[in-house]
């Protein structure tokens, strides 16, 4: 393997032969070229001349270089150069244990990896070696040697796992395998990424199979992954990771919603050897909240997908304060503390300068999911009813205590508060400020660490009753509740028993405050509360959530397989085999599990300790370059021979002897060629002309679309037969006409089916067409798409019509009209009212007739001076005329009226008659009158 080049040699030792080139150089320089031989009659006089002092004649350096190159090419060809050498090209004998990394890290270039694996299996098959396949992503199981064909089938069935498998899982089966077949060599098709298990695995592998391991890695693009999506205030950011710079440095992260619709793209780029960068979505928060899936475009792996659930949703929180005067000291107001605490994960809307009830109503109108009431007392009037309904519809109401709440008589609180004068007096003053005691095991704060720096000086007290414990999420050291909550229908009411400012406690300035708010806000949204409720009510140790939509290794959504198991409700971290990445839970409360945890980083695998062979993946088919090198060598050989010939005066000899002859020969050849060419052209044209003109023929324009052309031919053939049966015209077999080259003037009419995909003829061709029409030819254009247009709606532009317009734009087209009732076309042979083809809905357009002079009496048929140059239909006439070899129609008709085909043929007859006879038929209608006048 040449570093950096996918080039390898089957027998690299032969390349040592290149060392012999300098010797060859010396030899070649020494042996002069053969002298020119000249028969010279007075040679005997030369015999008498003293020989001259002569320097030995040398081969010119460039000739020597040429020969050396020739020798080098042959040596290289003998060494068997192979472009894109197959992975693990040469191995010692014995069976093969093939380890395939099959986590999501291998998914992006899965095809290449499997192709390499199959190549190895094929080679093993050719060499008659057994092979055992161990995929890291598959569930660990015993493996044994297989026949390579079976192994190849198994490899084809292998799919990457969506999670990050632990390579160490296969160590056990591998060890057992190597115990049974000790001479096996190990090939590890690695993805080159270390996600924590690499070092141990490499060390173990080195111990199990020292010196027999071939690692195939690199050579193809490394994997990229995304993780740690963060929906911050201004934008949503996500980290893009790669293990090493072999992965593409730039790309796009695309955001999709749950239904898979694209919401936005963000570009990212790694600079230099960076392994971590960031993609940023600057989208409105409402759209950002809809993002359910982020993926790297073009990277097909589960790691390149980051699923977002409600935890990443950025809530808009309405903040209502009971004290309108709060704004007097904005930095001390409870709203300020709340804004700062909510800021990192939610957008805060403040109700400023309005009464609390107005503000509440406005927030409900704005459909905010969370409303925070800071020390708001009674809510009265319609606002209260709406608020209750809003909660029952899923809203989360967070209340903070305060003097007003303590004084109020309100039931929009989770627990019964001590009321009346006692409540007033109940806002106790503690001798000893109480610390935060514990978080309820079932509440949302269960995984928070209990802070020891929170001191509560005052609180509102709850009436102790049986439900209090259940509703308490956080309590103080003495057991009195600090945070209580109660679900109401689908909504939730949460009460902080302290104020939102620092007057009663220092909770609002502690870090726990932010976390607590974050968890409460995260509950907002449909369904989450219900889940929480069941969790609360079940009292189970670990509520579980069943998988609903899971990712496969390529990052596509699939239905959950049998091995996927429900996650505990508090599941966090990286996906594992039992819990593949994907969405868990009911549609309204999805929980996302991702292949990578937020702090995971891709590291390149350190293969140093292994000490085995390292080879890259092969990209594409291996290409044996021997033929190329050998033909190069033979070309040089021929060149060398030619040069020797020329050096020895061969040209002069050749010229003297054969120049004249050769010249004559070449001139003769050229002349003959020219002559023959000219002859051939005229002959072809002559044949065409004879064929076209000896008998009357219908003709169609060859479109280049074989199907259409065959149909045109069959259609015109059918029409020809019909004409021969019914009329005096017996046309010969129809002809195809190349509109760009063939002479058109032999044909009275051309049938030109329009193929939307065809190219518009060039200007020169269109000029020919124009001339043909001007000189009396008629072209019947057929867009063949009446089925796609709605009958009657003629202004619709079908692709065929668009193409036809494109063609006609370059032609001089007269004014067109649908065939009027008195047009001669309706009477030229049969009496027709409309002109159906395969479809009956289209209109036949012809050149508009000059308006009938007013003074003349209406004639039963009118015709212009000649025949219309152009007829346009969309009924696919040829499709209706087309008959097969057995005389049966080829295509069904739409709508399929039994008489439609007959009328289609009649249409064709009328058109042909009209074209052939012109306005003669218009005059024929007067025959009865003439006969009458003659007295018959």
């Amino acid at each position: 393997m040449i570093a950096g080049l996918p080039l390898a040699f089957t027998s690299p030792l032969i390349l040592l032969g290149l060392l012999a080139l300098p010797v060859l150089w010396w030899l070649l320089r020494l042996i002069p070229p053969r002298p020119r031989r000249i028969a010279f009659p007075p040679t005997r006089i030369l015999f008498e001349i003293e020989p001259k002092e002569e320097t030995p004649s040398r081969t010119p350096w460039w000739l020597t270089a040429l020969r050396l190159l020739l020798a080098a090419l042959i040596i290289i060809a003998a060494a068997g150069p192979i472009w894109n050498p197959p992975a693990a090209g040469s191995l010692p004998g014995g069976p093969i244990a093939l380890i395939v990394d099959s986590g999501w890290t291998a998914a992006a270039q899965w095809d290449e990896r499997i192709a390499s694996a199959e190549a190895i299996a094929s080679r093993a098959e050719a060499e008659g070696r057994g092979i055992a396949v161990l995929a890291t992503g598959a569930p660990p199981k015993e493996v044994s040697l297989q026949r390579p064909g079976e192994a190849r089938d198994a490899l084809r069935l292998l799919a990457p796992a969506p999670h990050t498998p632990d390579r160490n899982d296969i160590l056990l089966p591998l060890t057992r395998l190597l115990r049974t077949v000790p001479d096996a060599s190990v090939i590890w098709l690695s993805d080159g990424v270390d996600l924590g298990d690499g070092g141990k695995f490499v060390a173990a592998l080195n111990q199990i199979a020292p010196g027999r391991v071939t690692v195939v890695t690199g050579g193809i693009e490394g994997p990229r992954a995304i993780t740690a999506a963060d929906n911050a205030a201004a934008s949503l950011t996500v980290k893009v990771l790669r293990a090493d710079p072999s992965a593409p440095a730039t790309g796009i992260v695309r955001a999709r919603d749950l239904r898979g619709l694209s919401l936005g793209d963000a570009e990212f780029s790694f600079t230099g050897t960076e392994t971590e960068t960031e993609a940023r979505f600057d989208l409105p928060v409402e759209i950002r909240n809809d993002i359910a899936r982020l993926e790297i475009v073009g990277e097909r792996s589960a790691g390149a997908v980051e699923l977002l659930d409600k935890r990443w949703r950025r809530r808009t929180v309405g903040l209502v304060s009971g004290a309108t005067a709060d704004t007097a000291q904005p930095l001390l107001a409870p709203t300020y503390y709340l804004s700062r605490a909510l800021g990192p994960f939610a957008d805060v809307r403040l109700a400023e300068g309005t009464a609390p009830t107005t503000a509440i109503e406005r927030f409900i109108d704005q459909r905010l999911p969370v409303i925070v009431l800071s020390d708001v007392g009674n809510i009265v009037g319609p606002a209260r009813e709406r608020l209750v309904r809003w909660i029952e519809d899923g809203g989360v109401l967070v209340r903070f205590a305060g003097p007003r709440l303590a004084a109020a008589d309100d039931d929009l609180v989770p627990v019964k508060l001590r009321r009346g004068g006692r409540v007033l007096g109940g806002s106790l003053s503690w001798d000893q400020p109480q610390k935060l005691g514990s978080f309820a095991a079932e509440g949302p704060f269960r995984d928070l660490k209990v802070p020891d720096d929170v001191l509560v000086q005052r609180q509102v007290l709850a009436e102790p009753d049986g439900l209090l414990m259940e509703r308490t999420w956080a309590s103080l050291a003495d057991g009195t509740p600090l945070v209580t909550a109660v679900p109401r229908e689908r909504g939730l009411v949460v009460l902080f028993h302290v104020t939102a400012d620092t007057a009663w406690s220092n909770l609002p300035i502690s870090g726990s405050f932010v976390e607590m708010l974050r968890r409460i806000i995260a509950l907002a949204g449909s369904g989450a509360v219900a889940t929480e409720k069941t969790g609360v009510e079940e009292h189970g140790p670990a509520p579980t959530i069943a998988p609903s939509r899971l990712l496969d290794g390529f990052g596509a959504f699939t239905a959950p397989g049998p091995t996927a198991r429900p996650i505990p409700a508090d599941f966090s971290g990286r996906a594992v085999a039992d819990h593949p990445p994907g969405f868990y839970g009911p549609p309204e409360g999805l929980v996302a599990v991702n292949a990578l945890a937020a702090d995971d980083r891709l590291k390149p695998l350190d293969l140093g300790p292994l000490g085995g062979r390292v080879e890259p993946y092969s990209r594409g088919e291996p290409l044996d370059l021997r033929a190329g090198f050998l033909s190069g060598a033979f070309t040089l050989l021929a060149l060398d021979t030619l040069i020797i010939f020329l050096l020895a005066g061969g040209l002069a000899r050749l010229a003297r002897r054969h120049a004249a002859a050769a010249l004559v020969f070449f001139i003769a050849i050229a002349a003959a060629g020219d002559h023959a060419h000219a002859q051939e052209m005229t002959q072809a044209q002559l044949d065409f002309a004879l064929q076209a003109s000896l008998q009357t023929r219908l003709a169609y324009v060859r479109t280049g679309d074989t199907e259409v052309d065959e149909l045109s031919h069959a259609g015109l053939e059918g029409l020809s037969v019909f004409l021969a049966q019914r009329t005096a015209l017996e046309p010969a077999e129809p002809m195809a006409v190349d509109i760009a080259r063939d002479e058109l003037s032999f044909f009275p009419m051309l049938y030109w089916p329009i193929v939307p995909a065809a190219t518009v003829p060039n200007a020169e061709t269109l000029a020919r067409v124009d001339a043909y029409m001007k000189q009396g030819g008629t072209i019947l254009f057929d867009t063949r798409d009446a089925y796609s247009g709605i009958p009657g709606r003629t202004n619709e532009v079908t692709p065929g019509l668009a193409k036809l317009r494109e063609i006609l734009a370059a032609l001089d087209i007269p004014e067109l009209e649908p065939v009027p009732r008195d047009h001669v076309l309706t009477k030229s042979f049969y009496l027709l009212r409309d002109f159906p083809g395969r479809y009956a809905g289209g209109t036949l357009w012809v050149e508009a007739l000059p308006t009938a002079p007013e003074e003349q009496e209406a004639r039963p048929a009118r015709a212009g001076d000649g025949v219309s140059q152009i007829m346009i239909t969309s009924n696919d006439l040829a499709g209706a005329w087309a008959v097969g070899g057995d005389g049966q129609p080829l295509l069904p008709l739409v709508p399929g009226d039994p008489r439609q085909r007959e009328f289609a043929f009649r249409t064709g007859v009328n058109i042909v008659m009209y074209v052939l006879t012109g306005n003669y038929k218009a005059d024929q209608v007067h025959i009865p009158a003439l006969l009458e006048r003659l007295g018959q």
Partner: protein, 318 residues
């Protein structure tokens, strides 16, 4: 010798080669004959009115009968006109014999890019044309060794015929033969044989007093030596080859040697009273033919027995 297979192969190769050469020659012959006629015609017209010896049995003069002569010699018709006896004398009928020898050896089949014909073609054209002219002029023409002197009108055909049918490889120097003392010899060849061989041959031919003309037909390349680079020069008649490293360095020496060679031949020719001319194949054949013919006419006229009357010359020309 014959049992040596290599030699046999060699011999077979030579036979094949000469057969090929002969075939080439035969193929070229009609063209050469035509060209010879053309050249001869132009020269013939060019020397119109030449005095020449009358042919055959024509009246020459009456002389007085000398006593002791046989009486049958008396021309009674003439004698009856007066009292004196006359003897009718006829012209001496023996024509002059010219031996023309064209060199047809392989070395003559050489043509460089400056030349218009090979040396052999040129030699044959000259030989035929000269033969035609001479026969028309009443001489007898022969080719040493292969054609006895003839005065046939179809001399060209006969010459061509004998040359084509000549068996064996043609020598590069005229064969040893014995020309009459009053014969003339025309040698057409390149004379690139070693100087001593050439002079010896000339001396032998001229030993009994025959006159002669030597025309050295050379290719321009043989005089200018326009070669450069590494070249192996090969003697076409199998006399060996020599490899020259830088041919351009040999040119001066070669030209000098050629001059030396020629001067030796010229000296020998002068000693014998022969003429020596050089003809280059880049020049037209008529040029050398004209001068050669003029020179020969002069030398033929110089002979005492060839004193033709002017009217006879006119007669013959007609």
């Amino acid at each position: 010798m014959a049992d040596n297979p290599a030699t046999m192969r060699e011999a077979a190769g030579e036979v094949r080669q000469s057969a090929y050469g002969a075939a080439q020659l035969v193929a070229a012959m009609p063209r050469l004959v035509l060209e010879a006629r053309r050249v001869a015609a132009s020269v013939y017209h060019g020397v119109h009115g030449r005095r020449r010896a009358g042919p055959g049995e024509n009246f020459w003069q009456y002389r007085r009968f000398v006593g002791g002569e046989p009486a049958t010699r008396v021309d009674w018709r003439r004698s009856a006109r007066d009292d004196l006896l006359f003897v009718r004398e006829r012209e001496w009928e023996a024509a002059h014999t010219v031996w023309i020898w064209p060199d047809c050896s392989p070395s003559m089949v050489f043509m460089s890019k400056d030349a218009t014909a090979t040396k052999r073609d040129r030699a044959l054209v000259l030989a035929f044309a000269l033969g035609e002219l001479l026969v028309r002029g009443g001489e007898r023409v022969g080719i040493p060794g292969i054609l006895r002197p003839t005065a046939s009108r179809a001399v060209i055909e006969r010459m061509a015929d004998t040359i084509v049918h000549f068996a064996g490889s043609p020598p590069s120097l005229p064969p040893a033969f014995a020309p009459g003392p009053r014969d003339e010899i025309v040698l057409l060849g390149d004379f690139w044989s070693p100087t001593t061989e050439v002079t010896a041959t000339l001396a032998r031919l001229g030993a009994n007093g025959a006159g002669g003309h030597i025309v050295q037909i050379v290719d321009p390349a043989e005089e200018t030596f326009p070669y450069s680079g590494r070249i192996e020069f090969e003697e076409p008649e199998g006399a060996g080859s020599i490899t020259v490293g830088r041919a351009e360095a040999w040119a001066a020496d070669y030209i000098q040697r050629v001059a030396l060679h020629r001067s030796a031949i010229r000296a020998e020719a002068r000693r014998l009273g022969w003429s020596f001319a050089i003809h280059r194949t880049s020049r037209p054949a008529s040029e050398i033919l004209l001068s050669l013919h003029a020179r020969m006419s002069a030398s033929l006229d110089a002979l005492p027995k060839a004193q033709p009357a002017a009217q006879n010359a006119v007669e013959a020309a007609l």
